[in-house]
Point group: C2
Chain length 343, copies 2
DNA sequence: TCAAGGTGGTAATACGAATTACCACCTTGA
DNA sequence: TCAAGGTGGTAATTCGTATTACCACCTTGA
């Protein structure tokens, strides 16, 4: 009952229908180029045998000859397990999947990439990303060296999230963080805030830096005072009393998952959010949290970023001309934590 | 600046280090079998050139010779877009991913499979599932014919969810629906319910049938009266008055996403849940819904099913002996919709 | 009768890595 | 001196498909 262990090949089909392997291949690919002709009867016979045996071409062998596979690699820099960032990345993946389905592509999730120094590596012994026609890169902290290498080798890839040049332009579909932050700063100023603070982690990742830059640029544009703090969550919390004493009335928080903890501490200090201090969340939480307050901020168009990244990759592979660097607008989230300052 | 378009091959390495392609391959694979020897100096020289060029073996060519790829295919029967079943399947995928990461495997999401008659097809022109060493199958309604073909061909695969034999045993990791349903029936009977009803869609899918069978078996075991209804949501809702009139006090609902609608209608009819009628949800909602009531029922161990499916597949591929058919226990969810009957 | 052109196919090869079979050279011992 | 055995490597082949180059045969027309 157990079927044949060995796969059916074109050679088998050829033998069964009394022709050569070449003929089988020609029939399968309907090649009627100049100089290649197959008699209709022969064609029929071959097709019949193919149908009987249920033969399907081996995609691996196919890929050996053709350059295309219709397989797109998806590489996630941050290790997904056991860290809790999965929920954050899920919408990106949903967008990528949706696009792949439309394009008729399969997705190769490069889950096998080893983790070195807390970060996945694209280049490593036995890496398999080249099996794909191209790659979508996901993750906050990408390795500049690896990026540069991909660029230098001319490997088709698109980053989800803006990336600085790495020995050449890096194709990306990112979120317009500077624009989104500037809009919120303008809103705070319009409400009467005159001393603002940016609370960040000091990360060099573009997604973080872009927020910071957007903040400082907006300060200059509006002419109000502001300061930029860097530190981990605990450090930021510790600096809250000084900030309040300094007359700061609005906090712009880089990592939205920190907001609730900051608000809790502010309440303890006798400065409840938003009546005493306003808090703005710059994006979606990177890790799961529970928030009692509906924080004002913006939403990263994650799904759309995934979708368009695939679109750009498709264009790159087809050698069509598209803008390979796109910034998408973030949707503002009204929320309830940005109100006029007291007094 | 743009690097070489052509990939670096073993042939290139061989040329650069003055040896044959064979030698390069031997060095790379550290083959020191009897009869194969490479001088340490030669080895060093080759390794140096490899490091300089950043050569990595082409996984496609590799797969041509070796039989293993360390790539596992994931096939989802139900089309994921635009239908809203994504949330339901996500935990399965999370488990599969987690396992893949541990096993050092990549995952090939077969998103390209065409949809015919509302169902994805594994076998189709240009299918690529054979690129993978084996496959995990996901989805409520699988095609018996395709399953049988996979079994007959000896292709290694594991179904997430129990499947009936298809010309041979089908490896699966399923949920113990009969057990879970029986437990809930027993609980209802213990609380005093004497007339129960099963409200289902009449689907022939194993996941549905197993719940139904569990229900009827539990009726027999406990000796109480019960009836089984089949129909879509609207039809089931329409039959509520008759059920209540008939003295039924507990409803066992196959599709948890239907529960709220049924409860709403019951409230309209003057039989609020759970005071007048108890409602039991047999699993997790297959599509997104909002429920005001915390329905009593059970949780499908989705993530664990995904994890173990990969485990079983790994064992199959390694030709280890494992039980290729596993049923996992469902965790009971206490909830608030199963209470003693009125009176 | 033979060149021209059409018809229907096949042999050979490429793709890149792995593996098998074998070879040329050297040393050793009797 | 020469068989035995060790050393260090290579040529050839394999995997399955696609493609190119070519061939054998037939018909036609002058």
């Amino acid at each position: 009952m157990a079927g044949p262990r060995r796969r059916v090949t074109q050679q088998d089909i050829a033998r069964l229908s009394g022709v050569s392997q070449t003929t089988v291949s020609l029939v399968l690919n309907s090649r009627y180029d100049a100089g290649v002709r197959i008699a209709p009867e022969t064609r029929e016979r071959v097709l019949e045998v193919i149908a009987e045996t249920g033969y399907v071409a081996d995609p691996v062998a196919r890929r050996m000859v053709a350059r295309r596979n219709r397989i797109i690699g998806v590489f996630t820099y941050e290790a997904v397990f056991p860290s809790g960032t999965r929920d954050f990345y899920q919408p990106f993946l949903a967008g990528i999947e949706e696009s792949a389905e439309q394009l008729g592509c399969d997705l190769l999730l490069l889950t096998s990439a080893p983790v070195v120094d807390g970060r996945r590596r694209i280049f490593h012994d036995g890496n398999r990303f080249r099996l794909a026609d191209g790659c979508v890169l996901l993750g906050r902290e990408t390795d500049r060296g690896e990026l540069a290498r991909l660029v230098a080798e001319g490997y088709p890839f698109v980053s989800v999230g803006r990336r600085a040049d790495a020995g050449g332009p890096v194709p990306y579909v990112g979120a317009d963080y500077p624009g989104a932050v500037a809009e919120l700063v303008a809103r705070a100023v319009a409400l009467g805030h005159r001393r603002l603070a940016y609370l960040g982690g000091g990360s060099h990742a573009e997604s973080r830096g872009d927020r910071r830059d957007g903040f400082t640029a907006a300060l200059t544009a509006t002419g109000v005072a502001g300061l930029v703090l860097a530190g981990d969550t605990a450090e930021l919390v510790a600096r809250l009393p000084a900030l309040v004493a300094d007359g700061v009335t609005a906090l712009f928080v880089e990592e939205p998952a920190d907001c609730q903890r900051l608000a809790d501490r502010l309440a303890e200090l006798g400065h409840p959010v938003p009546t005493a201090v306003s808090v703005v969340a710059l994006g979606d939480p990177t890790w799961p949290t529970t928030a009692e307050i509906d924080f004002t901020g913006f939403r990263i168009p994650r799904r759309e970023m995934g979708r368009q990244a695939m679109e750009v990759l498709g264009a790159l592979l087809a050698e069509e001309h598209t803008d390979p660097r796109r910034l998408l607008r973030c949707r503002r989230h009204r929320g309830a934590s940005l109100t006029p300052p007291p007094g």
